[in-house]
Amino acid sequence: MYPANMKTVRTITGLIAFVVLAFSACMRPGRQDTRTLTLAINSGVEGDALKQAAQDYEAQTGIHINIAEFPYANLFEKELIDLNAHSGAYDLIMLDDPWFPKFASLNVLSDLSPLLQKRGKSGPDDDFVTASLALCREPYQTGTLLALPYVGNSQLFFYRKDLFQKNTLKEPATWDDVLAAAKAISEHETTGAAGGGKIYGYVMRAAQGNAAVADFMPIFWAFGGEMFDVNGQPAVNSPEGIAALKFMIELGKYSPPGYASFNADEVGAHLLQGTAAMSINWPAWISSFSDAAKSKVIGKMEFGQLPGAKNPGRAEIGNWLIAIPGDAKNVEAAMDFLLWATSRDQMKLSAQRGNPPTRKSVFTDPELVARFPSYPAQLRSLESSRPRPRTPQWNEIENAFGIYLSKANSGELTADDAMNQANAEIKKIVERGK
C-alpha cells in the first residue's frame, strides 16, 4: 500500500470524526454553571413580558439568562423534542395549558412541591386563581404540581353596546338572546359605508383545528355537551352535542360569509372595522379596540361573560404556564426565578406589559383596574372557566374535531354526520393512545 493512501484513509477518518464531533457539539449545549438559566419562550406578548422580566432579574441577581424564543407553532415541537431527548437544554419552559397533559404524561417535568417545601412553603399560595392553578396539576386540580400559571387568559363575550342600546337589547345572558340579537342587528344596522356597509350580527372562527374548536366549546358546554361521557368514552355526537352544532350553524347565517376559514385575524378585523357586532374572543384583543390606528369602534365594545343555555355559560381557559424540565441543569436556580416571576409584584409588571395575570390580588389592584376596566369581567370569566378536555392526545383530537366542525360550517356535512364522524375519529385516536 502507498504511504499516501494510508494518509488519505487517515485524513478521511479524521474528517468524518471532525464532522461527527462538530454535530454532537452542536446538539449538546455547553456545560452551564449555576449562574446561567435557559428559558424557552413564546414569541409574542406573553413571551415578551417574561423576556423583560428575565432582563430585570439578570440585572438584580447577576444570573445570566439565555432566551430561546420560538413562534407559537414551533414552541410545542421544540420543547417536546428536547424534553423527550432528555437533553437538558432548558431550565424553564413556557407551556400553553392544552399541551400540559402531554408533557405530564411523559414524566419530563419537575415536581415543584419538594422545591417549595425546601423554601419553607407548604404549597403554592392561595392568591392564584383556583382555575389557573388547577391546570398545573396532573391529574387535574388534585395531582402533582408540575408548573405555575403565568398568563391568565380566558374567553370573554365581546359585543357592541352601542348597537345593543340602539336596538333596546339587553346584555345577552343566553345563546338564544345572542341569536335574536344577531338577527336584529343583521337586519337593521349598517356601517353607513358605500356599497351597503353591512354589519353582521355575529362573527366566529370556524377554520379547522384550534379555531373552530375554541369557538365551539362554550356553546357545546352550555348546551350540555361533553366530549367524554362518565365512562371516558367519546360522546360528542350526543343529542346535546348535535343540537349545539346545529345552533352554531344557525348563528353562522349571521356571520360574514367565509367564516368557515376564519382565524383570529379575520374575526379581529371584522370587529375592529365595525362590520360585526358580537363574538367570543380572547383578552389579548381588548387593547386594540381603544387604539385609534386600528379601531373604528372606540368606546363601543363591551366585554362580558359567556352566555349560557341549559348550563350556565363558561369560558374556555387558555393559560400560559411555566414549568421546569426534569432534566434541567439548574433546577434550584430555575425554581427561584419561577417563584420570582410569578410573584405578585412581578405579575403586576407583566400585567402592565399586556398580560392578564393569574393572581386575584393583581386582578383587583385598583391601579390596574383603572387602566384595564375589563379586569373584573376577566376575573369572573377566569374563575368560572373550564379547561379543554385534559388528555395527552388533545392536539390530535382537536385537529380531527376541528375538521368536522369546519366541514359542518362550510356546508360540506350536516350537523349529525359531522358529529357522528367526529366521534368515530376521536374514538380511534383514544384507542390508539391506549
Binding site: 502507498y2 504511504p3 499516501a4 493512501n5 494518509k7 488519505t8 485524513t11 478521511i12 474528517l15 468524518i16 464532522v19 461527527v20 454535530f23 410545542f76 415541537e77 417536546l80 402531554k102 356599497g195 370556524a206 377554520a207 379547522q208 383545528g209 360574514p256 360569509p257 367565509g258 367564516y259 368557515a260 376559514s261 376564519f262 379575520e266 378585523a269 371584522h270 362590520t275 392526545q393 392536539n395 390530535e396 385537529n399 380531527a400 375538521i403 368536522y404 369546519s406 366541514k407 360550517n409 362550510s410 356546508g411 360540506e412 356535512l413 375519529e425
Partner: protein, 299 residues
C-alpha cells in the same frame, strides 16, 4: 538538509501516482461525511421508526393503518388532484407563452423578464399575497369584482370547500408557470432552423409544423419540465399551509401537510415516516415513468 530535500524530490514522483488516485477521495470526503450525517443516517433512522410503535416496539401497524385512515386517503387524493390540475394548466400556459415569446414580437425581453418575477418570490410570500388578495371580505379580487357590479357573496375562496382547491391551484399556477415557460423556451431555442425550412418547403401548415416538427423536437424539454414540476407538486406544502392550512375542513389538505401534522403536532413520528415512504415511492414510480419516456426518445 539538501540530501533530505533530494529524497523528498524522488519520493514525489512515486507518491504523485498515489495522490492522483487519492485526491478524488479526499475531495469527496467532506461531501460524503455530510451526506452520511444529514441524509443517509436520517433515512435509515426513519425506516427504523416507521416499523416502530410510539413506545418503540416493532410493528407493522404504521403501514396497516394507512389503508383505513380516511384522512390519509383523502390527503393522498387531494395531492394527486392538485398535482394533475396544476401540472396541466402550468404546462399548457407555459407552452403557449414560450411559443408566443419565442417569435419576434415587440418588447419580448421585457415580457420575458416580467414573467420570471413570480419565480423569485419565496412560496410563503406567495401564500401570504394570495391570502390577502383572496380574502372574501377585504381582498383585492372580490373588491374589484364588486366594483364591476358582481355579487361576490358566494365567492368565499379559501373558505369554500369547492373553491378552496381552486384557490391554492391558482396560486401555484401563478408562481410556477414561468418555470415551465423558462424550460420550454430554452428547448424551443435549441431547435435548429433546418427542420422548419424543410417543413416550409414541403408546404406544411402552421399546425402541422407545430405538431410534427416542434412538439417531437421539444419532447425532451417537455419531459424534463414535467418531471421536475411533478416532483415539486407532489410534495407541495408552503403556500397551502399559508393560504388555507389544509381547510376548510380537510378540503385542501395534501399529504405533506398531513405528514407534518402527524409528526410535529401529534408527535407520531413512526406513522409520519410510513406516510413519507408512500409518498416517496409514488414520486419515484412517476419519475421512473418520465425517465423511461425520455430514454425511449433518445433511442
Amino acid at each position: 538538509m539538501s540530501s533530505e530535500e533530494n529524497k523528498e524530490g524522488v519520493g514525489d514522483s512515486v507518491s504523485g501516482v498515489g495522490s492522483e488516485r487519492t485526491i478524488p477521495y479526499l475531495l469527496l470526503a467532506p461531501t460524503v461525511a455530510v451526506l452520511l450525517a444529514l441524509t443517509i443516517y436520517p433515512l435509515i433512522y426513519s425506516v427504523k421508526i416507521s416499523f416502530q410503535s410510539n413506545s418503540g416496539a416493532p410493528t407493522f401497524q404504521n403501514f396497516t393503518r394507512l389503508v383505513s385512515d380516511q384522512f390519509f386517503l383523502s390527503a393522498l387524493a387531494h395531492t394527486f388532484v392538485y398535482a394533475a390540475i396544476a401540472l396541466t394548466i402550468e404546462f399548457l400556459l407555459g407552452l403557449a407563452l414560450a411559443m408566443l415569446l419565442h417569435g419576434a414580437i415587440r418588447g419580448r425581453n421585457l415580457f420575458r423578464a416580467l414573467l420570471l418575477v413570480p419565480l423569485m418570490l419565496p412560496p410563503v410570500v406567495v401564500g401570504v399575497i394570495w391570502r390577502l388578495m383572496l380574502n372574501s371580505n377585504f381582498g383585492a379580487l372580490n373588491g374589484t369584482l364588486k366594483r364591476f357590479g358582481f355579487n361576490t357573496e358566494a365567492l368565499t375562496w379559501t373558505a369554500s370547500p369547492k373553491l378552496g382547491m381552486a384557490a391554492v391551484i391558482i396560486a401555484d399556477v401563478w408562481q410556477w408557470t414561468p418555470f415551465m415557460f423558462l424550460i420550454l423556451l430554452a428547448g424551443l431555442q435549441a431547435i435548429p432552423q433546418e427542420p422548419y425550412e424543410a417543413a416550409l418547403v414541403d408546404g406544411s401548415t402552421p399546425w402541422q409544423t407545430f405538431r410534427y416538427v416542434t412538439l417531437p423536437l421539444l419532447k425532451p424539454a417537455i419531459l424534463i419540465a414535467l418531471l421536475l414540476r411533478t416532483m415539486d407538486l407532489l410534495r407541495v406544502f408552503d403556500h397551502i399551509f399559508i393560504l388555507t392550512e389544509g381547510g376548510p375542513g380537510f378540503a385542501t389538505e395534501t399529504l405533506s401537510l398531513y405528514i407534518y401534522r402527524t409528526a410535529f403536532r401529534f408527535s407520531n413520528f413512526g406513522y409520519a415516516a410510513a406516510m413519507s415512504f408512500v409518498l416517496l415511492l409514488l414520486t419515484n414510480l412517476i419519475s421512473v415513468a418520465y425517465i423511461r419516456m425520455l430514454r425511449a426518445q433518445d433511442a
